[in-house]
């Protein structure tokens, strides 16, 4: 799950999405692996959904919208890429320490550590990125982290809840895309520099 760390420092949209795709593949295979080991049918279905949605549909749509809005290929961030990778590395270390400290029962603390680092790195992306695409990506990475956490801890939430969560995620994603398009139509830009009217 080094992909998230690489994502933090990636500035180009295409490579960001590509890394997300790889991450989603790994996620799907993890669910598949778990499904084989636990022999539970619903994990297979979920693995399939993850592969289809997160590794194929979402990245493709993302790139499509990026192209159709003619978004700049180079994204902006508040911090320089090198600084970000440094902070990211530190945070990952912190996440692993946290996972070890909070080690519960027989769960694999490596996986819990990975999920914590994904959540934290997702937040980092969310906070430091200036553009809507980067922030959206950050959110999705965080969501992946929570997904791994759920799998590692309990072998996934009950099936119907998992489906509900997936559906919500998809709807959220569609909404995000819709908003990005509208923002683009209004300002011809996707950076949040224009979105800072409402402060007091």
């Amino acid at each position: 799950m080094l992909t998230a760390l690489l994502m933090v420092s990636r500035m180009r949209l295409a490579s960001l999405v590509g890394l997300f795709r790889i991450q989603a593949f790994l996620l799907g295979f993890y669910a598949l692996d778990l499904g084989i080991r636990l022999g539970e049918l619903h994990l297979f279905i979920i693995a399939g959904l993850v592969l289809v949605l997160k590794a194929v549909v979402i990245p493709t749509l993302f790139l499509y919208v990026a192209r159709s809005t003619g978004a700049v290929q180079r994204l902006e961030s508040y911090l320089r890429p090198t600084t970000l990778s440094f902070i990211g590395t530190l945070l990952v270390l912190g996440a692993f320490l946290l996972a070890r400290a909070a080690l519960w029962g027989g769960t694999n603390y490596l996986i819990v550590g990975v999920s914590f680092s994904l959540v934290i790195l997702g937040l980092l992306l969310l906070i430091t990125r200036k553009d809507l695409f980067g922030q959206g990506m950050g959110f999705l990475v965080m969501e992946n982290g929570i997904f791994v956490f759920g799998l590692a801890l309990t072998g996934g939430t009950p099936f119907f809840v998992e489906i509900g969560v997936m559906f919500d995620l998809l709807a959220l994603f569609v909404l995000m895309i819709g908003l990005v398009r509208r923002v683009h139509g209004e300002y011809s830009s996707v950076t949040t520099d224009y979105l800072r009217e409402l402060i007091d």
């Binding site: 969310l126 309990t154 509208r182």
Partner: protein
Amino acid sequence: MITLLLILCLIMAIVPFVWSSARAVSTSAVIMSTLVFGVGAYAAWPTLWGAPTILSGGLWYLDSLSSLMVLLITFVQWTATISSMSYLKEEVDENAVTVPMVRRYYALLGLFVLAMLATIVSNNLGFMWVALEATTLATALLVAFYARQGSLEAAWKYLILCSTGISLGLIGLLCVYYAASVVNAATGLQAIDWTHLFTIAPTLSPALMRVAFAFILIGYGTKVGLVPMHAWLPDAHSRAPSPISGVLSGVLLNAALFAILRYKALVDGSMGSNLWTNELLLWFGVLSVIVPAAFILLQTDYKRLLAYSSIEHMGLMAFSIGLGGVGVIAGVIHMIGHALTKSMLFFDAGNILLRFKSTKFARVGDVMRVLPYSGAFFLVGLLALLAVPPSPLFMSEYLIISTGIVNHPWAMMIVLIALTIILAGFVNLFMPFLFSRAHLAESEAVVPEEVGEHWGISHMAFSLHVVLIAAIGVFLWTTPGQTLLVHLAAVIT
């Protein structure tokens, strides 16, 4: 019955697409929402007074508190739809809004109500999570309704902040699920049924439940608007169309708080006492009262001011529930009073906004003369919000103060100072707003050509609110009222 209610909401979301004119769309929406209110009241009334019931094979769970929430939600969505009717009619007449937009508006409103009700009546914590996230999704588009610059920003902020928050809540939910699966073999959906968890609560690992509650409080607290996580709230509430702001502020925040309370009961059960959770709620509450006080004192925008006041009131609710004992009763009263008052004020602010075309204090004045009916209702609403008897808020704040002084004198002192500042801010800003135009700069002031207004359908809705506020305010002092309150508070503690 509850299933029927939810299906009705779904129909309410679909019906607007059948009609072609804005008028027909509005009328059908009002009819549907009246039905929803009727069915909601019919379904929730018996359980409000009686014993909790599990319905539809364990899918829904109604106890007195959730029945109360169902009543509040269905009532507020009803009056919201009625005020939307006149609000949107005027916007359509001025070509600010097109007919497809009106259709989308009512459809999203229906989905929003559906998601809120599902949050309240779900017995399963997982479904509750899904429904709460769905409220965010449905309202994000309503916040972005005008597609103007400010509303897009508000919607983006709202979407990202609330979704992130609720995702953190999901971690909490997973912890609960894990805690439950460790002690007991029940897996699958049933393992996170609230009623099931509640019975096995004493066997759940307290350490794990504590971690879970921290995540839940931070996560769902974002949606409640508790202070460090409140940044989205003033933006979303001030940029959304006014009837929507009313529903957001009046009942959505309560729904999120309700979800937190459900978890609180579990954590308390697992830890064997409610001291820890109470302490957390108490201090989040104190913070959520003092921070908005500063913003209220120096506010330039009246819808934002109302939004900050919502944060303050949610803070007060968290504070009083954190006090425990009588404080919980006060919290419930506050919930009722705030839902009815604040939603009416927002609906009414919509009327004022339509006439003056501005949400800035600097551009609005003399509301009492220009809009006699709306102005009068606004004044009544303000007084009720500032806890002038017979408003239920008077009773709740009275109880909060008398309990707080005994249990947590220092915290109470801080809250009282903040409340005084808020009162000063309200009076300072709203008295000129309502009664004089002396503060308006001559060049800036937009004096509407028309003076006076007709008694419209929205005023009917406001009268209903006022009558209810006063009636409930009086009723709660009577013996049956107090029995009901104790009955309600028993759910929380």
